[in-house]
């Protein structure tokens, strides 16, 4: 389907409107002129009739035979009159018939009427002497009135026939000029590289185009940001995946070449550590990929307090190794709708993060609490906390707080956020009031306690 042309549409609209307005004016003028003309000429007819009546009364005593009035002007045939006295024709114009111009039953009705005599329409004014013995009819050809009106309308319409094509040309040119910025934008867009994301600039763009340009440039901006974040994701992923492998390779090569036993042992230990790290990374990636590809898991009400207690029990040995303490504050059973395995992964990730990024001797408290509307889980630590800017970036995959001295992959947070999303829980982070480090809080709408 061919796209409708804006230019053609504007042209048709403008020309159509001009024609309608012009024709409307012509119709109004025609009506107006006719009205005024009728008033004027009818006045003339009436006056002429009155004169004839007066004249006839004066000449009553003369001969009683009909007189043909002389034709005075070449336009005189357009006018006709008859004068009757007591039913007899006394006087008439050359172009008037001998019988009265009006029908017999209307003979004594005074006033205007239209009459057809032969093949000509006449406007007739009839009047009578005071004694009703004299009848005067004055008539004028209707055609002569129409030709005056038509002459006037011709004067109006003829220029229009000439002007309309000229106007069409002018409008076409004006519309073409007016749409130049649009055409420029089109060319600019067509000429862009597919990867170009810088804002589009159109010189002299009119105010009407600004919303469109702004929206377009906004879109380019968003795509640019998206591509930048994708690019960063790829770069970070490359770094996170390659570094452990590079470490394993380097350490293994050192071990192979090392003759000193202690140094070789150290290199081999480091190789093993590298393998552990790589496998943890793979584990996290798989969890994340399963989370993102799987359909919504089956959710059922479960006691969050009990689940937290069992996960923290698993984490306790890790805490002890760094002389850290991890405590649970969950006295009452709190029910949320969830999937137990996923929630365990979530709690484990939060607890693991808190322990991992807090120094030796730190304290971690996991709280489960709630009220009538909500249940919340809070994990807070006495670690160094997070700068606001870093808090905002948490959950970007592979984002790690630099200088934390930890070997995390930055995937744990993505996993936490994804699981929270699946469970319709909101995640928020703030500085911990109680311990001074980071506090992470998840909120659920409370589930009904199962009976």
């Amino acid at each position: 389907m061919k796209a409708p042309s804006l230019q053609r549409r504007l042209l048709a609209l403008v020309l159509g409107l001009v024609t309608v307005v012009w024709l409307g004016t012509a119709v109004l003028t025609w009506l107006d002129v006719r009205h005024e003309l009728d008033e004027l000429l009818d006045g003339h007819l009436a006056q002429a009739a009155a004169l004839l009546v007066v004249q006839q009364v004066g000449e009553m005593e003369d001969d009683d035979h009909a007189v043909d009035a002389p034709s005075l002007h070449r336009h005189a045939p357009k006018i006709a009159f008859q004068v009757f006295h007591e039913g007899r024709l006394v006087m008439r114009s050359a172009n008037a018939p001998a019988s009265p111009m009006v029908r017999p039953e209307e003979r004594f009705k005074s006033g205007f009427r239209s009459v057809r005599l032969g093949d000509t329409d006449w406007r007739v004014f009839a009047t009578y002497g005071a004694e009703r013995d004299i009848q005067v009819y004055v008539a004028e050809q209707q055609r002569s009135r129409s030709s005056i009106v038509w002459a006037l309308l011709r004067g109006m319409l003829q220029p229009m026939v000439v002007a309309l094509p000229l106007l069409a040309l002018a409008v076409w040119w004006a519309v073409y000029r007016g749409m130049l910025p649009l055409r420029k934008l089109g060319t600019a867009l067509a000429r862009r590289e597919p990867q170009a994301l810088q804002p589009v600039e159109v010189d002299g763009a009119p105010a009407e185009m600004k919303p469109m340009l702004d929206a377009l440039n906004g879109l380019f901006g968003r795509i640019g940001a998206l591509m930048e974040s994708e690019r960063r994701f790829t770069a970070d992923a490359a770094h996170e995946l390659r570094t452990p492998i590079a470490a394993i390779r380097a350490q293994a090569q050192v071990a192979l070449a090392e003759s000193d036993d202690a140094l070789r042992r150290h290199a081999l230990q480091a190789t093993l550590q590298g393998c552990d790290r790589a496998s943890r990374l793979v584990e996290q990636l798989l969890t994340l990929s399963r989370l993102e590809s799987s359909a919504a898991p089956a959710l059922a009400p479960l006691d969050l307090s009990a689940l937290v207690r069992s996960v923290v029990a698993d984490l306790a040995p890790q805490a002890l190794r760094k002389q850290q303490t991890i405590e649970v504050e969950a006295e009452l059973a709190r029910f949320v709708v969830g999937e137990p395995t996923l929630l365990a992964v979530l709690v484990r990730n939060l607890g693991d993060n808190a322990l991992r990024y807090s120094p030796a001797g730190a304290r971690v408290i996991v709280t489960v609490d709630g009220d009538a509307q909500a249940v919340w889980l809070r994990v807070e630590d006495s670690g160094p906390g997070l700068a606001d800017a870093d808090r905002q970036r948490l959950g970007e995959r592979f984002f790690r707080v630099l200088g934390s001295g930890q070997e995390g992959s930055g995937l744990g947070w993505s996993i936490v956020q994804r699981i929270a999303q699946v469970h319709a829980a909101t995640v928020s982070t703030q500085p911990s009031v109680q311990l001074g480090g980071l506090a992470v809080q998840l909120r659920w709408r409370a589930a009904a306690t199962p009976r």
Partner: protein, 223 residues
């Protein structure tokens, strides 16, 4: 040969340091960008291995900053960022080599040696001066076709002198070339090693410029 290693990953950094030591390098290891920049500006390294994803200051920024400051030493960028624009940017910012992780330690060592050699205007793996031939990769020295057994320090000292053949090196410069961090340098260590080298290679090979330092002439003084 003393080099700076900037790598924030503990396991990888540890492995690279151990591996490069096996290859005969003296390695100073820093773990963040700010430290890397500080050390590169202050210390006389022969070369640097620079990771890009460093905390505090990105490796690219470190590179740009030290190049602006006029530091000319060869820098090998070792990174996981394999995107072509990253490589181009790294090289344009002044990296002399761009190597992707994971890397073979022997290849890394060979690349570093090549960078150092080229920085000294020596296109060949073997350094030649007078009747001496020094093979940095094999860490062997021949004099008039005969192998001369040298200790690690003696070899490193001769390596420095031969890289800078024809130029006087001060005792402080030689000490900095020989010892990485954590090594106590005895006050007369350089004199002792020079003395040993003279005994093994002949007294005329290394000349003393009193009050300044030592010099290894390109041509034998006798010739």
């Amino acid at each position: 040969m003393r080099i700076l290693l900037a790598e924030d990953d503990t396991l990888l950094g540890d492995g690279l340091r151990a591996g490069l030591r096996q290859q005969g390098f003296q390695v100073d290891w820093v773990r963040d960008g700010a430290a890397a920049e500080r050390e590169l500006r202050a210390q006389p390294y022969e070369a640097a291995v620079l990771d890009l994803g460093l905390p505090m200051m990105d490796g690219m920024d470190v590179l740009a900053s030290v190049r602006r400051a006029g530091v000319t030493l060869p820098v090998l960028v070792l990174t996981a960022r394999d995107a072509v624009p990253d490589r181009i940017r790294g090289l344009d910012l002044g990296a002399d080599d761009y190597v992707l992780k994971p890397v073979d330690l022997q290849e890394l060592a060979a690349r570093l040696r090549a960078l150092v050699r080229r920085a000294h205007g020596q296109p060949q793996e073997q350094l030649r001066a007078q009747d001496l031939v020094l093979d940095a990769a094999a860490r062997v020295v021949q004099q008039a076709g005969q192998l001369v057994p040298l200790s690690t320090r003696e070899f490193d000292l001769l390596h420095s002198l031969m890289l800078n053949a024809g130029r006087v090196l001060s005792r402080e410069q030689l000490e900095q070339h020989l010892y990485s961090w954590g090594h106590e340098v005895e006050s007369n260590a350089v004199e002792v090693h020079v003395h040993h080298l003279r005994r093994k290679l002949g007294s005329g090979v290394i000349q003393t410029v009193r009050g300044v330092g030592y010099l290894l002439p390109r041509e034998s003084p006798a010739a």
